[in-house]
């Protein structure tokens, strides 16, 4: 059966972070940053290979990548990298069952223990840390 016949939400459902909690936002940022980093990583490998063209080639590339646009990109990459790493550590712990609470008899109104403060704090920290890193990164890249 095609996903459409199944009334699947499709990409939009996967990519819409708005309707549920911060956990869903984290999920979405994680994917986005993973893909972003991969793209950067590929670019980066290509970039560094210019060293094979000697000092001239290298400097040429350094020149080429020192534009404001690319520096902004780089700042975003820094942010993604920090978020992805910090959240990645959280997610790995979570996936291993660490900090997801422990089963007990649920009482109405039910609050899912896995959606707890520890994880929310970790997500917010990841966001804050990546913001700090981005600020720091821009001071280095753009010089103050």
């Amino acid at each position: 059966m095609e996903p459409r016949d199944e009334n699947r939400e499709g990409l939009g459902g996967m990519a819409n972070p708005g309707r549920y909690g911060i956990e869903r936002v984290a999920y979405w940022l994680m994917r986005l940053s993973g893909l972003g980093l991969l793209a950067y990583f590929i670019g980066h490998i290509y970039e560094t290979s210019s060293i094979l063209r000697g000092e001239v080639g290298w400097d040429e590339l350094m020149e080429l990548t020192s534009t404001t646009e690319l520096h902004i990109m780089l700042v975003i990459v820094i942010g993604m990298c920090v978020f992805h790493t910090v959240n990645g550590i959280r997610v790995m712990l979570g996936h291993g069952g660490v900090g997801v609470g422990r089963p007990t008899r649920p009482d109405y109104p039910y609050t899912p223990a896995s959606q707890n403060a520890r994880h929310k704090i970790a997500i917010y920290s990841a966001i804050v840390l990546s913001a700090i890193a981005m600020v720091y990164g821009s001071t280095v890249l753009f010089g103050v």
Partner: protein, 230 residues
């Protein structure tokens, strides 16, 4: 307190919304609104229901965008003059609000949702302490309503993902002190569309009406597979 609201029902035939003005009181549930519209305004609305007390799992749908049980959502809680009801996403639509559950039942079946007998004496009870009971009882609360599967982002695109409902049930039996079938079950969910397709997005737990917290069950289960837990 409002005394009428506008109920917007997504119809499968036209693909559009039909609107109904329905009277409400303090206790009126969304299911009662739908039934009022069905019984007195437009018979042809198709909706599944039975127990009207959040135990049978029939009436899952999207209410103002979020998956919820119609019988367990009061109009007064929604705090809105219009209520939009749509079929649960990630399930094939049969008609209007009624969706097909074959896949959910199949996935539930796949995880061997029953005790694998150990060497206990069949003529009497297993001893199980209240603390041991508490280790799985929340997962046993699952009413198979499918709301979790409707909210999960992996489910939104992956037609073969087992889904939080089934995975949580796998955990329910693994965590039961009377069960001897853990290895078999872990083997089944260790599939390319099994447990690894959960990314701990947590939406399943946020919409579950019974406090099952499938996200927790899945991560604890994965804890076994990653060697975090014995």
């Amino acid at each position: 307190m409002r005394d009428t609201i506008t109920l917007r029902v997504r119809r499968s035939e036209s693909g559009d919304f039909d609107e109904f003005k329905v009277p409400v009181q303090k206790w009126t549930t969304v299911l009662e609104c739908i039934l009022h519209a069905k019984q007195y305004m437009d018979h042809s609305i198709a909706v599944r229901y039975s127990c009207r007390q959040a135990t049978c799992g029939s009436c899952g749908m999207r209410i103002n965008g979020r998956p919820a049980l119609a019988c367990f959502t009061k109009v007064s809680e929604l705090d809105s003059d219009t209520i939009t009801v749509e079929p649960m996403s990630n399930f094939p639509i049969i008609r209007d609000l009624a969706v097909g559950f074959d896949r959910l039942f199949e996935n539930h079946h796949r995880v061997r949702p029953y005790l694998e007998p150990g060497d206990a004496d069949a003529g009497r009870e297993h001893l199980q302490s209240p603390a041991e009971l508490d280790r799985y009882i929340q997962f046993a609360n699952c009413i198979k309503c499918g709301l979790c599967n409707s909210a999960c982002p992996t489910m939104a695109t992956d037609t073969t993902f087992m889904g939080p409902q089934a995975l949580a049930q796998a955990y329910r039996y693994v965590a039961d002190s009377r069960d001897a079938g853990k290895d078999k079950r872990l083997n089944i969910i260790d599939d390319s569309h099994g447990i690894w397709r959960c990314h701990f997005a947590g939406s399943c737990s946020q919409v579950c009406p019974k406090g099952v917290d499938p996200a927790m069950g899945i991560q604890l289960l994965r804890g076994y597979m990653l060697g975090f837990r014995g």
